[in-house]
């Protein structure tokens, strides 16, 4: 979680300096959801993500340096500089891809789950999507398909309160859990600010899905600290909202308080982790700045396997 926060914070700062081309959507504030779920997955389990996909990618094991190189549009990037922030993927880690189309990755995830069903393995697939995607046909159609075909799939909806600039409380008619239950999915509401709840409860759901219980839906409450995209002043949010969430519900602070109280770690150990993460991100940013740009010849490769 600390790595994701540092990763996003660095990009926020360096994007404002003009170092990062393209559209950037940051997930700072939403770390506990990505980590609480992905800790239960292996490289053989698949996920797909959204335009706000850095956290999911890191939680699924994608390399920090290769991701930063990708965001800096370098040839050494995870996707050779051809995908960028919105298309982060590493198939060797079971990360099918972030996605620039709202809801676009949800049907793809069903395909990974379908493979598991056809081959009779216990692999599961998780579609991360936002509250905005809950109103996309692709998501709703896939919920039905997953139920009808009994796919080992988890629909992880991170409701960060806003689909772009519009409150999810306005944009979603009815209740998300009721929608999912209407499709016959096992449905749970989880506090995405609380790592321990995410880890425990998502773990139970993933175990059930892995055991063949059919598809499940998680309504994960979350909050993004930055705007929809880098450069968004986010004036649609009431004054003081971000600060209040950061003060009262920050997932890293809650984790620290509870982990210390339970005697799981010491304050020094957490501080050491923080210093390590800062070092990793210092190195990643420096590597990304120095890394080579794509060649002109790269423009037309990777369109087809053969043509």
């Amino acid at each position: 979680m600390r790595t994701i926060r540092e990763f996003e914070d660095r990009i926020h700062i360096n994007s404002a300096k003009g170092e990062v081309p393209g559209f950037i959507h940051l997930s700072a504030g939403q770390e506990a959801s990505a980590v609480g779920i992905c800790m239960h997955l292996t490289d053989e389990d698949h996920i797909a993500s959204t335009h706000r996909g850095h956290g999911h990618s890191l939680a699924k094991g994608c390399d920090v340096t290769a991701m930063m190189d990708e965001i800096y549009a370098k040839r050494t990037g995870l996707c050779a500089g051809k995908g960028g922030s919105m298309h982060m993927a590493d198939l060797s880690k079971g990360m099918i891809g972030a996605n620039g189309i709202v809801g676009g990755g949800v049907p793809l995830t069903a395909g990974a789950a379908l493979k598991s069903r056809i081959q009779g393995t216990d692999r599961v697939a998780v579609a991360f999507f936002g509250d905005g995607a809950l109103n996309e046909g692709a998501t709703l159609e896939t919920m039905n398909l997953a139920k009808v075909l009994n796919l080992p799939m988890i629909f992880a909806m991170e409701d960060n309160g806003y689909g772009e600039a519009t409150p999810s409380s306005w944009a979603i008619g009815g209740q998300p859990l009721a929608r999912a239950e209407g499709f016959g999915l096992l449905a749970r509401a989880l506090d995405g600010h609380d790592f321990f709840e995410m880890y425990e409860e998502a773990g139970k759901v993933i175990r059930d899905v892995r055991a063949g219980a059919g598809p499940a839906f998680l309504h994960i409450s979350a909050y993004r600290y930055y705007g929809h995209f880098e450069g968004d002043a986010a004036t649609y949010r009431p004054e003081g909202e971000v600060e209040r969430v950061q003060k009262e519900k920050d997932c890293l602070k809650i984790f620290r308080t509870r982990a210390l109280a339970a005697g799981m770690v010491t304050g020094k150990e957490l501080d050491d982790i923080e210093q390590q993460v800062i070092g990793v991100l210092d190195d990643a940013v420096e590597h990304a700045r120095q890394a080579p740009l794509p060649n002109a010849a790269d423009l037309v490769t990777d369109v087809y396997v053969s043509y």
């Binding site: 198939l91 676009g104 395909g111 692709a138 490769t301």
Partner: protein, 335 residues
């Protein structure tokens, strides 16, 4: 070798590839038919009966009926392909690409590139195309031009049963996504089809007939109409080369240009929409690469830029006919 229908040839290709490769599976609406009901199993075998009988051999885990949810199952097929399977999805009518175009255009076609070459997407989307059934505007289109426009997709259209089997087997084995277009007027067409498996490479045109006076380029059912026109004109001493392109992406540019350089005259016949379409693309190719050889303006025989009508009398005017093809050829020869 025995005589088989276009429908049988496709069925045979699917069966042989499913036997050969356990990662090949079929998914689509009513490709078995009757799933979950109390009536006949495998009641349809697809709306045109193409997949009939495959459920019995391969079972419901590899012949997968879906709800009517094109976005969900075409996307799921793409997701399965990215994770190592070789799905063949049936998208009943190519018109229905409109329902799931994001999954075709923004996901399937672009995954390999966006992922920097990590991904292979060995997905075949089979679909009917073409008019002639008075099925009106949303069940009669021939949208190869739309698909060809998009980098990352391959687009194939067989013109007879022999090609259907060989091109489909090749498409299934291909590591890229292939839009496989079957003209609905041809399912009962008969032709010689080898019993064993064979492949026909994508991007290699077939000289359907050789003639010295003019080059005619076409695809799918239009190839057969061009050959009929050429038969008639042969009696008047006019020699036509008819090039069956078989695929629009990849496109066999060399064969087209070589032939145009020999004949100096070109007619392109196509059932797709004319604007930014296949016929215009071939005309542009000739203009760019073979212009010095052209002895007359290129003639495009296509439908007008209009929606496909229901009324049989209007649809007859819409689809290129043997007469219109002959007229086009005569115009170019007279120029």
């Amino acid at each position: 070798m025995s005589e088989k229908s276009f429908r049988q040839a496709i069925n045979e290709a699917l069966r042989e590839e499913m036997r050969r490769d356990p990662t090949v599976f079929l998914i689509g609406e009513d490709i078995a038919g009757g799933t979950g009901g109390e009536g006949e199993e495998d009641a349809w075998g697809g709306v045109m009966g193409v997949t009939k009988g495959l459920l019995g051999e391969f079972g419901a885990s590899r012949v997968i009926d879906t709800p009517i949810s094109e976005t969900a199952y075409i996307g799921a097929a793409a997701g399965a392909a990215v994770t190592g399977m070789r799905p063949v999805a049936e998208l009943m009518f190519c018109d229905f690409a409109g329902v799931c175009f994001d999954q075709i255009m923004n996901q399937t076609a672009k995954l390999r590139y966006m992922l920097g070459g990590q991904a292979k997407v060995p997905l075949v989307i089979r679909m009917q195309c073409g008019g002639g059934f008075n099925a009106a505007a949303q069940h009669s289109q021939t949208l190869h031009g739309l698909f060809t426009h998009i980098p990352g997709l391959k687009v194939v259209m067989p013109s007879n049963p022999y090609e259907a089997k060989g091109l489909l087997i090749e498409s299934i084995r291909d590591d890229d996504p292939v839009m496989f277009m079957e003209h609905k007027f041809m399912y009962d067409d008969k032709g010689e089809v080898p019993d064993e498996s064979y492949t026909i490479p994508l991007g290699e045109a077939h000289y359907s007939r050789d003639g010295e006076d003019i080059t005619i380029c076409a695809l799918g059912r239009m190839v057969n109409l061009c050959n009929e026109a050429a038969d008639d004109l042969a009696q008047e001493g006019i020699g036509c080369t008819v090039i069956d392109l078989r695929s629009t992406s990849p496109l066999d540019e060399e064969s087209i240009c070589e032939s145009v350089e020999e004949t100096g005259r070109l007619v392109v016949v196509d059932e797709g929409y004319p604007r930014c379409g296949f016929a215009a693309d071939i005309a542009a190719l000739a203009a760019v690469r073979a212009q010095p050889a052209l002895r007359a303006p290129v003639k495009l025989v296509t439908p007008p830029h209009t929606t496909i009508p229901f009324a049989p009398t209007l649809e007859e005017l819409y689809i290129p006919s043997v007469d219109r093809i002959k007229q086009g050829i005569r115009e170019v020869l007279a120029a």
